[in-house]
Symmetry: C2
Subunit: 495 residues, 2 copies
């Protein structure tokens, strides 16, 4: 930090931010442009307001109403690409450019090591970017637990391109089943398979998607395809004994009662073992899938769409960075150190001020996540901060990987940086509570202070989303679309 401080007399310190999600975007937005030159590096050019992602996947909202382009932040520099590597000694980030039109917008699960087929579109040009301070906020990847076929055949719901694919698929399935039945055409059984919508994972994302899908089908598609309703089935599968584990018994029961009334199947203690295309035309031409569930034995379940909404794994960049040895000049004052990782999650360990912790190369990693006390021997990289899904706080390792945590960490860090006093106050998470939409204008909300359900929760749910994180543009557009969808129905153009 010494050298960069002397530089700052002449020009502003450059803060390079890796990622444009809840953590990275909020840092870029909150940092004072009078004090810092801000540079964002991210494979996608916008921030996605993820709590409304499920709403766009069913057409209640238009996709762009939940996107905030990074370039719209005044005076923020942006490079679309992946941070391919970081040299902590020379304080340089190697950026691999992402020039594809919309590749960054869709969840891609890398194949397991060994089967690694290099993604040819990811072989971009590279260039180096120097930093004075670095904020690592590149998030996590989806975790498929190595279950056969999930990577290839399931839909994810983490990015805007995922939402678009799901929306097209749902509408296509109804269109496909609307043709007359008959010789060479789909049978009623085929239609029953194709209109089975399976959601794997009973956390808030899976439950909300099931709820929004139910609204789309029963509010809108029921009028357009009345003959098809008898074939429709929405089912949520989870390995745990109950869904929505973060809610207390009464609220979770309320959710399940609501789902039961809506006819949404919830199958707890069900383990998905394999996903494969259905045999014949139904699989090859119409994309039908067969789901093998441990509890159902050899009887596979047919489905037209499988949405995978469970599990996170570490970003490949994090794994790469933790393998690197640092020189003494790298800021720790001791050669042979490397970034400390949490053994259980693979996340990067930080101190209470969100600074990257190092450890000696021999491997003295924190098993903080498993309950053990963090390694005290580690030093710090004073100019490298880690926030969001890829960070593990050594003094609060059990923090969930949520938008709330990422956003609070980002704002805390940016404000401390603005004061020039990073170690003035440790980060402390304040739980604002959890909200889950259940369909038909109902939601449940739980925090330490209160719990709410029904339409009151719904009003809070929608209201809260409007005031946080969005640009004025989207603060206008989102309610406009809510009103339009309520008055005229959801957007059903298959485009």
């Amino acid at each position: 930090m010494e050298s960069s401080k002397s530089k700052s007399k002449h020009k502003k310190e450059r803060v390079v931010i890796l990622g444009s999600g809840w953590a990275g975007y909020a840092v870029a937005r909150t940092l004072d442009p009078a004090k810092y030159e801000r540079v964002v590096v991210s494979p996608r050019s916008y921030f996605v307001f993820t709590p409304l992602l499920a709403s766009t996947s069913v057409g209640t909202l238009e996709f762009r109403t939940i996107l905030e382009p990074v370039r719209r932040l005044p005076q923020v520099d942006f490079f679309q690409g992946w941070a391919d590597d970081v040299d902590f000694d020379t304080k340089m980030v190697r950026v691999e450019v992402n020039t594809s039109s919309d590749m960054g917008s869709q969840t891609v699960i890398p194949p397991p090591p060994g089967q690694a087929t290099e993604n040819p579109s990811k072989k971009g040009d590279v260039f180096d970017l120097s930093y004075d301070k670095l904020v690592i906020a590149c998030g996590s990847y989806s975790q498929t637990f190595g279950i056969e076929g999930v990577r290839q055949h399931a839909h994810f719901l983490r990015d805007i391109g995922d939402a678009r694919r799901i929306r097209l698929r749902v509408l296509s399935l109804f269109e496909l089943c609307s043709y007359p039945s008959g010789a060479g055409l789909l049978t009623d059984d085929d239609k029953r398979t194709l209109l089975h919508f399976a959601i794997v994972g009973g956390g808030p994302t899976g439950i909300e998607f099931a709820a929004e899908l139910h609204d789309l089908i029963y509010d809108d598609l029921a009028r357009l395809y009345p003959d098809l309703l008898r074939f429709v089935r929405i089912a949520v599968y989870d390995v745990a004994p109950k869904v929505l584990p973060m809610f207390d018994q009464a609220l979770a029961k309320y959710a399940m009662d609501t789902f039961a009334r809506h006819g949404i199947d919830v199958r707890t203690e069900h383990h998905l073992e394999r996903l494969r295309p259905a045999d014949g035309d139904l699989g090859s031409r119409h994309g039908a899938l067969r789901i093998k569930v441990k509890e159902l034995g050899d009887d596979e379940v047919g489905a037209g769409l499988v949405v995978w909404s469970t599990g996170l794994m570490q970003n490949p960049l994090v794994a790469k960075l933790t393998g690197k040895k640092l020189s003494a000049a790298g800021g720790t004052g001791e050669a042979g150190q490397r970034l400390a990782t949490d053994v259980r999650t693979g996340g990067l360990v930080t101190d209470a001020y969100l600074r990257a912790r190092t450890t000696s190369s021999e491997g003295n990693d924190s098993a903080a996540g498993a309950g053990a006390p963090p390694a005290a021997a580690g030093r710090l990289l004073e100019d490298v901060f880690v926030i969001g899904d890829c960070a593990i706080l050594e003094n609060d390792p059990a923090l969930p990987k949520t938008a709330q945590v990422a956003s609070q960490q980002a704002i805390h860090l940016a404000k401390r940086l603005n004061r020039g006093d990073v170690s003035g106050k440790p980060f402390a998470f304040r739980n604002w509570g959890t909200l889950t939409y259940l369909g038909s204008w109902k939601a449940i909300h739980q925090s330490s202070a209160d719990e709410l359900k029904g339409w009151v929760a719904w009003v809070i749910w929608r209201g809260a989303y409007l005031t946080k994180s969005m640009s004025v543009r989207n603060k206008i557009l989102v309610p406009v679309y809510w009103a339009i969808s309520w008055l005229f129905g959801r957007g059903i153009s298959r485009f």
Copy 2:
């Protein structure tokens, strides 16, 4: 018609409408549901409000605000697919289903005969659909005049998928050129090539796209990529000695003066001879093109985007139908007849009441378009109507292939059908005038009654679009987006 009339005592006559463009959609919307069962067959599930297509291609409007899903028309049945064949004797349409997610939304130019590689995704299931009356409104295809590379490398602007591709491409090109220049990276010359936007065709579509693109670049992208403006060039190429031939001298000059002030190059009397990918990485990885223009000799012009907006050709279905011999039972009362076509355009000839004309198989086709009088010998298919781009009126063969003509024919036909009196009144085209947007809130308008230019024309232009053809939903959303784009800038998320 006799048999169907006797049926109509028991149930409504079924009108099958082929196409969901200006002609087909307006017929479906205007036909009285109390009198007719309406069935629309179209490869795409929505009507596109084409005058605003260029606005969506630059992000002023959201794509879905100019789409009207056919299924939203109450009581209209819809099958997504191509009319593959028609049996006029048994009054059946063979429908090939289109189950792709969004294939129908993009302009596809079939390869020339001989090179015909069958499109595998177009090999759908088929089923038959009977009709009492048939309305052929399947429009026209883009014409590339066999110029090498146009089909493969040019962008078209006729459907919503085309607009999306253009939008992604324009934004991607700016992003691509925003990376630092340097070794292994793009040079300034590369950036000059990539930011050359070439529009081929100086009709209203090409001119409006150039104008809207200019607005996007100078209103919005200039602020986000200030360093790139020096590389930008917009050019319009046309083979004719002047652009906008439908406007009088003064208005066309006004348009050209406006363009000159905006720095948009207009190159008249330029003949494009070939389009090919640029050599090396610039072509293979970044999609740069080389344009060969006859007047420029061997010096090819580099470009990042070529938009093709000139020329229409006949729909392949029309060619197929005109080859068919009809039996006497087919309605003409004389065996061996076939549908009459206009030799110059390949269009289907109709009488003044928009009914399909037949001719004897020996070929007595009308050369109406070339000024010759139509073949009088032909008979009529009383229950088959042809409107829009694929129709040629024998008494007014020079009608342009425009939305105005298609829309007026559709409304005329539907109203006459509603009265049960098709031959009560011949179709007469009423010219509402032509409007072309020139950028920066200016437009020109010309009709027989008046001519307007500047912002007055702009107000009329925008106002007129709001009141015609759109659902209430889009009548609200389009002005909302105009206001949002005006206040906060256009949508620039690269998605």
